[in-house]
Amino acid sequence: MRAELINPFLKATVSTFTTMVNTTPTPGKPFVKVEPGLSHDVSGIIGLSGGAKGAVIISFPSETALTTVSAFIGTSVTTVDADVTDAVGELANIIAGAAKADLSGLNVNISLPSVVVGTNHKVNTPKDIPSVVIPFSCTHGEFVVEVCIALT
């Protein structure tokens, strides 16, 4: 997969967390996802269409989701409720929107966010579209951003 399709999402994640979550996440080495992929507890999903198709997914363990959302909204949250899922969806939306600016030549459209909650769930992506997982660590814990993208 072309790095220029992945790097905007890495940059956008660092920028979003630094600006709105008060922590600068450190990216690990990206790797190509091999199905069935990693297990997560809370995932925010944005669909991509237009000049590119696929999805961007930000996934957290529950504890990291809670501490991240607490910092994001400025209020301590202790359970994964509607506020947390809304906030995770909004984080996914902001990251995808910021990345889209770097992909402006492609005329990518982004969907409204969807959020999946469930202990150790897996998010399947289309088999015909390559998917790269970028692991991050920050003061709130570890999380991943998965970029599943192909030009149309």
């Binding site: 920028s15 979003t16 600006t19 709105m20 959302v69 994001f72 909204i73 400025g74 209020t75 509607a82 506020d83 809304d86 906030a87 969806g89 909004e90 939306n93 902001i94 995808a96 929107g97 910021a98 889209k100 600016a101 402006s104 982004i110 409204l112």
Partner: protein, 120 residues
Amino acid sequence: MKILLVDDSNTMRRIQRNTLSGLGFTDVDEAEDGADAVAKVQAGNYDLVLMDWNMPNMTGIEALKAIRANAQTAAVPVIMVTSESEKTRILEAIQSGATNYIVKPFTPDVLREKLAALGK
């Protein structure tokens, strides 16, 4: 100053409300989509609208155009607050009558600067 916050995300409305409160603006109402925003702007005397772009039912840009098309509300300042950060989108918003534009992610300082630019 009476402000209307428009965003389908409860999280973003909460963050912006807290930010505005920190800047001394506490007379703040909320709308969950563009249609709700247009109705509230027509019914109330708002000094400023902070408008998201991507929302269900009616998008922010559609709501902005509706507000500008109504003589009664045409002069209400509307700042787009959105993750739509491409230059073409910003240009589209300005051409549709947006007073200013804030790209998410943003810091409280950015909101303060945009309000100052409005003389608020």
